[in-house]
């Protein structure tokens, strides 16, 4: 599938047994394992959902409008990421840097929002050891936030490498692999947003 406005990037065959880049395959294997990691955190959250014996309870403190904006910010960062990849694949390093910078900035905005949310919850009496909701919520969303943080460091590293001439359009696959990680962080949030925030308690 290709747009009328831009020629789609044609994947190239690699000289490997499968014809697929080993690095890319390794990243997909990691993402498959990370599915299981987050799957474990999610089922623990779901099992203990609604079983807290004392407050604060989720329906008292979850802020849906605020988190909806955070979710939109992360979705927008995914668009910026894929546009950055398109830029480097087509040899446009300036466009690559601008969109990758936007991705990292939106990721940082999401992370800042999460920090604010955690702080607010803490002021309302919710801590890691307060009740089952606090334990499972902070562990699940905290590990997701950690993933976002690692992603931001990765993206900034790529920007710096390109500025110092260590990253060129020939290295587009490095950006594609970072992009896979970043989009994965986004899809995990899509699931968390629904299961933790939107499904009524």
């Amino acid at each position: 599938m290709s747009d009328g406005t831009a020629v789609g990037h044609a994947p190239q065959a690699h000289h490997t047994t499968t014809g697929i880049s080993h690095n890319k395959m390794l990243m997909w294997a990691f993402l498959a394992s990370d599915c299981m990691f987050f799957g474990s955190l999610i089922w623990v959250y779901m099992v203990y959902r609604g079983r807290s014996l004392e407050g604060p309870y989720p329906q008292e403190i979850l802020n849906i409008p605020y988190t909806s904006v955070s979710a939109a910010v992360l979705l927008l960062s995914s668009l910026a990421m894929v546009l950055a990849l398109h830029g480097i694949q087509h040899g446009n390093m300036r466009r690559f840097r601008v969109w990758l910078g936007a991705t990292a900035a939106l990721g940082a905005l999401f992370l800042g929002g999460q920090y604010f949310e955690f702080t607010e919850f803490y002021h309302h009496g919710l801590s890691l050891e307060q009740n089952l909701f606090g334990t499972t919520f902070f562990v699940l969303t905290g590990f997701h936030g950690t993933h976002v943080g690692i992603g931001i460091i990765w993206l900034v590293t790529l920007i710096l490498m390109s500025l110092f001439g260590r990253l060129s359009p020939a290295d587009a696959e490095r950006v594609e692999i970072a992009g896979l990680y970043w989009h994965f962080v986004d899809i995990v949030w899509i699931v968390i947003f629904t299961l933790v925030y939107l499904i009524p308690y």
Binding site: M1, P11, M25, I42, L75, I190, L198, P200
Partner: protein, 99 residues
């Protein structure tokens, strides 16, 4: 398969498709949040609706932004395997502890 043999991959989409997907994702998110506020209207159908909308967003991001729709079937299989195990364990644990 011989080394270096071309795999079945198709060209990735361009910016116009990516922006269209972003618009669809934004609309689905708005519908999700609106559905949340109309809980009394949807009743028991609320949870299935939210899960379907969430799954739609998930598939769009994986298919178009992660290019799994266009990349080699082997990669789809690897990710599907991880997802299947994760969903299977989640459902098994929910059945074990909730039912």
């Amino acid at each position: 398969m011989q080394q270096g043999q071309p795999v079945v991959e198709r060209a990735h989409p361009g910016p116009v498709t990516y922006v269209k997907i972003a618009v669809i994702l934004a609309i689905v998110t708005i519908i999700e949040v609106a559905t949340y506020y109309l809980e009394s209207f949807f009743g028991a159908a609320l949870v299935p609706i939210l899960l379907v909308l969430s799954a739609a967003k998930f598939v769009l991001v994986v298919g178009f932004y992660m290019h799994l729709k266009f990349d080699a079937p082997l990669l789809r299989g690897m990710f599907a395997w991880g997802m299947t195990v994760a969903i299977g364990i989640t459902l098994a644990m929910l059945a074990l502890y909730k039912l």
